[in-house]
Symmetry: C2
């Protein structure tokens, strides 16, 4: 083992499995209500539609099973351009790369832009698997203050200036600007425009991750940063768009996509060639046939409505059963409710009482690259029906009571 | 663009697409006979069996489409242990990681073991996508002389000593020990045993890539290096086994696997979690159901027989139509014939005449990390039927004739 440890790369020596992955085990225990998942609701999967698409895809015969092109099936890339046109992004299929989920999209952009020691800016708190990816690539993470408007741009500019003064190479800002994970926050259009001008001025690329943007409960769509960038002269060099079918269709097919200008895309495709040659063909054809069926247009409102109901129900139950011990930030879309325990309570400690009471969540500390606020927690409502949210809130109240009694 | 180029990681700045991927385009042109592919023969795909397995897999319902575990579906990992037991490797399913093709397997092990500046030893020549992967990970490549017995172990030991004397960190040796790509060579059991003892003595890990081992035309199986390693006290710390369903079933589902001891596997799974969370579920279930059907037992002899016929036919046609201008190394399995042009001819130059004559191949220079021998070329016979091999040899003869006339 001595010898073996000397052989591992430094990136894996101290690496640990994500707490979200670890808590996944609890979601399979029947006596536990899990608010810990980042997973979409299986009861919203359109199995019938996907099975019909699978039968269509199988008709493609040999071409569904032979090696194929690295950037993805052309017909699917074409469909992606139509899908994102509805999100206000004009593109052509030669700007699209199909990825094995948006997690792979993150890994590909990290390896396209990051050398060891480069700085990646992230919102604090942010998606923890993104932090993992950037760390694996050797990046230094600089955490920018969050705000209810998504990101504190004054803090961003101040930190960028300070980092530049230290001769740090700032390569990228990672952000989920719409219905962020974990906070649920959405950045205003005005701030998106200002962020883009900062990216141009200080020469970094905005990695815009948009897995949840379609799942809106109320209000109007805010334009995508990449969509805004395309309308400026040099902006498109400074923004890359990542998205996924995981939250609007199903996650198990592992299908996501990156959209970028052609110079950036060319490099991403080179990395992908080395990483896995290409994403499996059959899942690509299944999604392409599903998109061709037109069913997604009905599904997105259905998912948004259901998740909105579940979110409202959870908030109401928290108000009723947990009350003053916890405050939360009301989201207008996505899958997550970001909450904070009062009176100095620790969410990490509360989780142990929660497990005993039959409810789990993710302590918010997991989403901080540095300076974790352990009073925070992320509650996912996507997979819990209204009766479940009431029971979850009751159990949370029990857990908090037990926690207080023991301290 | 100035600004943008400053943002790219150094690994992509000079990177180029693989010539094998570029030549793939020629395989789709009806007037070209391609000996350039690394692709298996589509006429050997068991479409009927795969479609039946797909229908079975679809019966799994929601679990075929939800997020799943990073290391792969347990039932498929169990099946893999049975598959490799027939190759002489005893294992349990918790030593197996399912990968998105064996290309991803290579990327995962590279990132598990390689820090920038670490040395990876490779046979010269070797699989060029492996060289790409190790370069992307920042490795220095040291090329070890090849031999008809796979690898010149005296050269290996001499180079290892010289590199250690320079304080280089030697992390891994990459090798395709059975029916190598591109040379078709197979390493003897005695040399495998000696290689393993060198790995233990000098503390590096052998990355044993075995995509073609089942496709044997004649002679007896040689034990896998990993299988041999498992029978020694410390050997299993020094060998990792990679394989794939691409050559024995179909490549488009992108399914491969890694087998390693548990300490190494744990690190590989951590990397995979960051890379793509998990391999798509449906393709895993399809392969699992296919393996359950027992059909693979019939397919492997059928593929081996057909490829053996195609290889024999190509060799005979080369003898008859090309004759003295080219010599080749007779393989006893796999997909490739390794050849050498005589009289100082360049395979890179010949390729241009080949394109005009309607035949393409891969110039051998692509498979050298350094010191390329441009007289060499790789001829893939897998996808070309006997009439095609005759026509290909005739066209090669025409190309050689034209080349000679112009020089």
């Amino acid at each position: 083992m001595e010898d073996l440890n000397a052989l591992f790369a430094s990136r894996v020596v101290g690496a640990q499995s994500s707490i979200v992955r670890e808590l996944l085990a609890f979601s399979k225990m029947p006596h536990i209500i899990s608010l810990a998942g980042g997973i979409p609701a299986a009861d919203m999967f359109d199995l019938e539609g996907i099975e019909a698409a699978t039968l269509e895809a199988m008709k493609m015969g040999v071409s569904a099973y032979q090696y194929s092109v690295t950037d993805g099936e052309p017909e699917l890339r074409e469909r992606v351009t139509h899908l994102i046109a509805e999100r206000g992004i004009e593109s052509d299929k030669d700007q699209v790369v199909i990825t094995s989920g948006s997690q792979q999209g993150l890994d590909l952009v990290a390896r396209t832009f990051i050398d060891a020691g480069d700085v990646v800016l992230v919102e604090q708190p942010t998606y923890l698997a993104a932090i993992q990816v950037f760390r694996m690539a050797g990046a230094e993470i600089a955490s920018i203050k969050g705000s209810t408007d998504g990101l504190d741009l004054d803090d961003l500019e101040a930190q960028v200036k300070a980092l530049k003064a230290q001769n740090k190479r700032i390569k990228a800002l990672y952000i989920v600007p719409t219905f962020a994970n974990p906070t649920g926050s959405t950045m205003s259009e005005a701030n998106r425009v200002r962020l883009l001008s900062l990216a141009v001025e200080y020469n970094f690329v905005i990695l815009e991750d948009d897995p949840y943007g379609e799942i809106r409960f109320e209000g109007d769509r805010v334009p995508s940063i990449y969509g805004l960038a395309k309308r400026t002269a040099t902006g498109e060099d400074h923004a890359v768009y990542l998205s996924s079918f995981s939250k609007i269709l199903v996650p198990g097919l592992r299908l996501g996509f990156i959209v970028a200008n052609k110079a950036i895309r060319e490099k991403i495709v080179l990395v992908k060639q080395s990483v896995d040659l290409h994403t499996p063909v059959l899942p690509q054809l299944i999604v392409e046939k599903y998109l061709a069926s037109g069913h997604l247009k009905d599904r997105i409102p259905a998912i948004s409505y259901t998740y909105g109901q579940r979110c409202a129900s959870l908030m109401k139950a928290l108000d009723e059963y947990v009350g003053e011990d916890l405050e939360y930030q009301k989201p207008v879309g996505g899958m997550f409710l970001w909450a904070r325990l009062k009176n100095g309570m620790s969410a990490t400690k509360l989780l142990n009482y929660g497990k005993d009471a039959g409810v789990v969540f993710v302590p918010g500390a997991a989403f901080y690259a540095e300076g974790a606020d352990d009073s925070t927690l992320r509650l996912s409502f996507a997979t819990v029906n209204p009766e479940g949210t009431v029971e979850a809130a009751k159990r949370l109240a029990v857990a908090i009571q037990k926690y207080k009694e023991s301290n």
